[in-house]
Symmetry: C2
Subunit: 346 residues, 2 copies
């Protein structure tokens, strides 16, 4: 029942040429004559030949795949970026290999393995908490494959990255609330060590100070980007004696958690409190109320990161140094005004 797959030798026999010629006809068509090329292609068709990638990759000393490390595959924010990455990488002839860094099987050891040259020709990292792992990777391995950060990044090491200006996004959100007349503004933060948390919190603080408003530490609620943590922040908000009239959440998901928890307690947004999110994921415009939020061009981020990585892979060491020197690629964002914010009662 198991018939062995046709090999390049079978094609060569069928076409009456050598394996070298078949290989050339397929990989460098311009290097064989028109007649043999056609004869080879016909033979390929006839035998049903498809290439054995393991053999090709072994000989070419590459892996043919690109690894994407995602903090959480199930999170729609990441899956949209992933989708864009895949759409750019697949046509370039690479496999997209996905690893969820939060999944239990992915110990540091496992992730290190991906960093090793012989697992991937390049990496895209959507997880900025891998500093330790990458440092260890540099010690262990003589040279890491090209890598690019997207969305998140390592604050010190100058790896190339594609991202937005997060503190600017936070400023846009806060300024909008200020313009609506809010003077008591809170913030639901991301996980403490995350770069995004740091940048967005900084932007938020700066904008609050610029508006000559007070920074109240008890209005900066801890969170971790999940809906559950947004709901927790809502409970914290409810328990306050003096409550902010507007809250900027560091992710859309937290904003949903926040709004839904208030709803459970009989309070509606934006009447009870104005809420701004961050990310503008798919559902934000359909949420009830539709969420005012900072739009991140997720598809563009993914595509850009993929294209930069492909350039790095094709380029030489010089190109790589140039890429690191060039600094991060910052894509534009915008504040999308919807229903979840309104002017403060006067």
């Amino acid at each position: 029942m198991i018939k062995p797959l046709p090999r390049i030798r079978d094609v060569a026999t069928a076409a009456g040429v050598s394996t070298a010629t078949v290989s050339r006809a397929l990989s460098h068509p311009e290097r064989v004559s028109k007649e043999t090329r056609e004869r080879v292609l016909a033979a390929v068709e006839k035998t049903g030949y498809t290439i054995n990638y393991a053999a090709r990759n072994l000989r070419r000393r590459r892996t043919g795949s690109i690894v994407v490390l995602v903090p959480n595959l199930a999170n729609p924010f990441f899956s949209a970026i992933l989708s864009a990455i895949a759409s750019e990488i697949a046509p370039a002839g690479y496999n997209v290999l996905i690893a969820d860094t939060a999944q239990p099987p992915h110990s540091e050891q496992r992730i290190l393995e991906y960093l090793n040259n012989n697992r991937a020709d390049g990496l895209i990292l959507l997880d900025g908490t891998l500093k330790g792992v990458i440092a260890r990777g540099q010690e262990t391995s003589s040279s890491l494959p090209p890598l690019i950060f997207a969305c998140e990044w390592l604050s010190e090491d100058g790896y190339p990255s594609v991202r937005i200006d997060n503190s600017q996004g936070a400023r846009l959100a806060i300024r909008h609330l200020v313009e609506l007349g809010h003077t008591k503004i809170g913030h639901v933060m991301g996980p403490p060590e995350n770069v995004l948390t740091v940048e967005r919190r900084r932007g938020a603080r700066d904008a609050i100070l610029e508006a000559d408003l007070e920074i109240r530490e008890d209005w900066f609620f801890p969170g971790d980007f999940t809906m559950a943590s947004g709901a927790g922040a809502a409970r914290a908000w409810l328990s306050l004696k003096e409550r902010p009239t507007a809250v900027f959440c560091s992710s859309d998901e937290m904003a949903f958690g926040f709004i839904s928890e208030l709803h459970r307690n009989g309070l509606e947004v934006p009447d009870a409190v104005s809420v701004v999110g961050f990310d503008d994921i798919e559902i934000s415009k359909r949420f009830v109320p539709a969420l005012t939020t900072v739009h991140q061009p997720r598809a563009r981020i993914g595509r850009k990161a993929a294209r930069l990585l492909l350039d790095l892979i094709d380029g030489d060491d010089e190109d790589r140094l140039a890429a690191r020197a060039a600094g991060p690629e910052i894509l534009p964002i915008e504040l999308v005004l919807r229903e979840s914010t309104k002017a403060v009662r006067t």
Copy 2:
């Protein structure tokens, strides 16, 4: 700057043994003596050796990866399943290779390539619209690698699949609405050719008839599982002279689109109309109103499909025939009651 990676020969030299012994020490530790094993492991440590998978896979005549074909990576329904699949497959030593069947670069030709033995050791298909491609694959290739459908499936060919009882899910939804006293019940359907659409519509019709209620064709709204199509159905609902008082949507996303579009038109759920969804994706319990929906155990579906596939890969042809004969694996569902439905006004 580029230092060549250590090969198995380097380890052999460092340990003072042959490459065969190194290979055995790593792949079949019980076949070498304790002392050499330790010596080899020390040499591996010292040289920083990591295996070259292309070489191993070439020799072992396998690819080391499993391909998952997803209709739409950016859809959170699928990404949760994918996440579960990855968590099960990665520890088994396979790469998870993802291909988005809806992405432009994935012509039929490209998908066919994945079906070929030498791209993957096995496939998990979340897309039931691939009938044509698979038929062509069977013609072209002598034997397809083991494959498993998850969620969706091909209605005729008896490929193994892991899924839920979709018509039963639809019945649960309709019965719930009937119990709440609704007598005018509508349904927002998925894309016409989709198996899920067919099954859920059938379940819905049967349950409506069982309740001695009328089937009104103009209350069966076309859709395609997306939020936008749910919003379209809402507009259709609004334009009716006589409107159903309850609507069962074939996906949660369509339910969100439906609810949000009504909200834009000043109508609120469940006061204006009761809505039931299908899937119970992450956000459903936090939507406003929290969505009553049919829960699919997505993580379990993903894990189960992955485990079955791994069994098939390890098994022989006999096991594969047995698996096809065993029929689909049906996982339990339940109706989750939340806020989007309420008793009809009497």
